[in-house]
Amino acid sequence: MGKSIMSVDDSSTMRRMVSFTLKSAGYDVIEASDGAEALNLLKSRAVDLVISDINMPNLDGIELTRKLRSLPSFIRTPIILLTTESDPGKKAEGRAAGATGWIVKPFNQEQLLAVVAKVVPN
C-alpha cells in the first residue's frame, strides 16, 4: 500500500494538482481545505506526510504545524509548508513551529515529487 499524504490548501485547484501528481506517483492522498479541517481529520487517522499551504482561513499552515506537533502521533510526521517568495519571514516562522521542509510556490510537478521522495520514499 502506498504511503498516505495529506494535502491542505484552501485552493481546490492546488489540491487537485497536488493530489493528482502524488496519486500518479503511487501515493494515497487525503485533502483538507484549511488547517482546521486538516486537524479534525488527523485526530482520527495518521498519515505519512502533511503538505500544507501557509495562508489559509480558519487555521493557517504555521498554526496547524504547531498544533500537530503538540499531538503525540504527529511529533515526527514530516510537514512540508508551501511558502511564497513574498513571505520570506514565513519560512523562518514555519521552521520555528516545527515544519520539516518547505517548497516555494509556484512549483512544478517534478519539484513537488522531488521533495516528497526525499521525505517519504515510497
Binding site: T13, M17, A36, E85, R95, A96, K105, Q111
Partner: protein, 740 residues
Amino acid sequence: MAINNEALQQQLINDLLIESFDGLDRFDREMLTLEKGEGQPDTLNIVFRVIHTIKGTAGCIGLGKIESVAHVGESLLSLLRDDKLKLSPPMITALLEYSDALKDMLRCLEKTGHQGDKDYSALLEKLKNLQAGEPLPAEKPAEEQCWGLFEDEPVATAPATPAPAVVEKTIVVDAAARATTSVSDTAIRVDVGQLDKLMNLVGELVLARNQIVQFTGKSTEPTLLNAAQRLNILTTELQESVMKTRMQPIGNIWAKFPRIVRDVSQELGKQIKLVMEGQETELDRTIIEAIKDPLTHIIRNSIDHGVEKPEVRTAANKPAEGLLILRAFHEGGQVNIEIMDDGQGINVARVKQKALEKNLITPDQAAGFSDREVFNLIFLPGFSTAEKVTNVSGRGVGMDVVKTNIEKIGGSVDIFSEAGQGTTLKIKIPLTLAIIPALIVTSGGERFAIPQVNLLELVRLEGEQARKGIELLYGAPVYRLRGHLLPLVYLNRELKLEQSADEKNSGDVQIVVLQADGRQFGMVVNEINDTEEIVVKPLGKQLKGISCFAGATIMGDGKVALILDVLGLAQLAKVISETRDRALTEKPEEQTRADDRQTLLLFNAGENSRLAIPLSMVARLEEFPLKDIERAGDQDVVQYRGQILPLIQISQFLSQAEPAAQQDPMQVVVYSEAGRSVGLVVTKINDIVEETLAIKRDAPRRGIAGSAVIQDKVTDLLDVPGIIRAADPDFYREPKKENP
C-alpha cells in the same frame, strides 16, 4: 507549461476559474465594506488571501501573466495588511479596477484558453505608485533552491512546542475555527456538470418509472404492485433530493450587486444604500443563470431612472441617500423577487407622451389607460424614458428584453409605482425547469404535452352542446365560458395536422382552457389524456425556429412527444397579438376587478347587427337627408354647423360581403376629437345601455377592437380610431391648428 497532462491542465484551469471568480466577488464585497469603514480586523487579510491564492495557483499551473499581475496587487495588499500603509479611497478604486483586470484575464482564459495580450501596465503602474515608496518585493525568489528541508540547513532548530508568546493568539484562532468549520466539515464542492448528469439520470429514471407504473397498472400480482409502488415513491423522493442539490442561493448572483450599485451610483453622482433580504432563498441553477442579466438590468435601471440625485431628494424632504431593496422569498412553489426603490416613481404623463411619440399607443388608448396600464408601457419594445441615452441603462436592451427573458423561463414581471414614493418590480419565477407537471393531449393522432402552469381548466362539450356551444364571430370560433368569450384555437389546424376519420366523426369537443401572458384562450384537441411529470429536453437547433414548441419529452411508452409553448402557440394562432400590445392587458383576475361600468351606444351597420361604441366618444346623433350629401374628392361630406363634416360608411371598414344599402335620411354618429369631427354612417341606432364591460381582445378583425357580452348577446366594439385612421390617415397626424 508546468503541467504535462493536458486533461489535468484543463481541469486545473477550470478549478482556478471557479475559485478565482468566487474569490474576486468576495474581494469586491470586502473592499466595499472597507470603503464604508465597516471592515473587520480580518477583512484585509481576507482580500489579501484571495489575491495570494490566485497568484500562487496561477503560478503553479503555468499562467505566468496572471501570476505577475496578481503579484503587484498582492504586494500592495500585504503592505496594507501589515499596517505599513493606510487604505485610501483612491486605493480602493484602483484595487477594484485591478479586480476587474484580473476577472478580464480570467474570462479571456475561460473563453479562449489563453491569458490574452491586453496590456495592464498603466493600472499596474498606478498600483505601484500607490505603494508610496515602499519597495516592491522581488517577483522571483532570490534563492535558487525552490524547496528544501530545514535539517539540511546550518542553523537548525529542533521541532519545538508552541512558543508561549503565541498561545493567546492560538486560542483566538481556534475559537474562530470552531465557529466556522461546520460548513467545511459537512459540505463538499461538486462539479456542476456532475450535477447536470445526475439530473439527467434521474430524468431517465422518472421515465422508466412512468413506464413501469403504466405497465403494472394492468397487473394484479401483489408483489409486483408493491414493488412498483415503492419504486414510484423512491423515484419521487430521489428526484426531489437531486433537484435540491442543484439549488443555489440567490445570494450567489446578488453578490455582484453591491459593486454594480457602487459603480453606477458613483458614475451618476447618486447616493444609494443597497439592502438585500433573503439571499439564502434557493433556486435551480439554470434559473439562477437565466435571471442574472435581467436583474442586473433592473438594478441599473432603478439607479438610473428611479433614484434621484441627492440635491433633488433633499429638496423633496427625503434623505439624500436613496434606498434600493432587493428581496427574495418562496411563496406557493414559486420564488418571488422584489426590487424596490424609494425614488421618484414612474412619471405617468411622461411615459404616455413617450409612448405616443413613438407611436406605440394611440391618443385614444392613452386617454383611457389606468396608471397601471401606463406602467406596463415601459415593457414595450423600443420604449425608453431616459431623456438621453446614458451608458448606464441605455445600452440597447430595454425592459422588454427583461420581460421576455423572465417569461421565457415561465416567470412574470409586475410593476408598481407611486409618484415621489418609488417603484417596485415584482418578479415571480418557478423553482425549477427540468421536470414539470404537464397535461398530455392528442390531436391529429399525435401526443403533445402542455405545461400545467398554463392550464386553467378543461371543458368537454357533448352532443347538442358540442354543435351549438361554439359560435363564430366573423369566422373566428368562440365559446362562452361563464359569460366571457373564449377565443378558440384548433390545435390540429394550427399545426397543420391531418385528422383521422375517428377524430372527425367524434361528436364531442374537448377544450383545454389555457392562459398565456395574462390572457385566456381555449385550445380544441381530440383527446385529453393524463397529467404526468415530464422531463423537459431541448430541441436541436434545426427546430429552434418553431416558436410553438418549448421542447420535447419521452413518454412512458418510450416515444417522443413535443411540449407546447403556449405563448408561442397563441401568437401563432393570433389569439394573442405580438409583443406590441401584450404589456397593455391585465391579468384576468385584475380584468374583472378593473371592469368599469360604461354607457354604450348600440347600433347596426349593414350586416353587423350588434355594434357598440362608448357614449363618451359620441358628440351627437344626427340625421341627414340624402340630398344634403355632397362629394369632395372621393369623400362624402355634409355641411354641419358651419363646418364640413366628412362622412365615413362604417360598413366599408368592416369585413362585410355586401355594402350597406343607402338610407334616407342617413343615420350619423358625430365623433369629435381635438376640435375635429367626423360623421360615422350607421344603419340603425338601437339602444343606449349602461353595462359592466368585460372586453375580450381576441383575434384582430378589421374595424373591431374587441367583443363583449352585452344584454346576453355577443357585441362587437367598434375600433373608432382605427376606422378613422383607415378612412383619413391624416386625421390624427395633422397639427391641431383648429384646436383653440
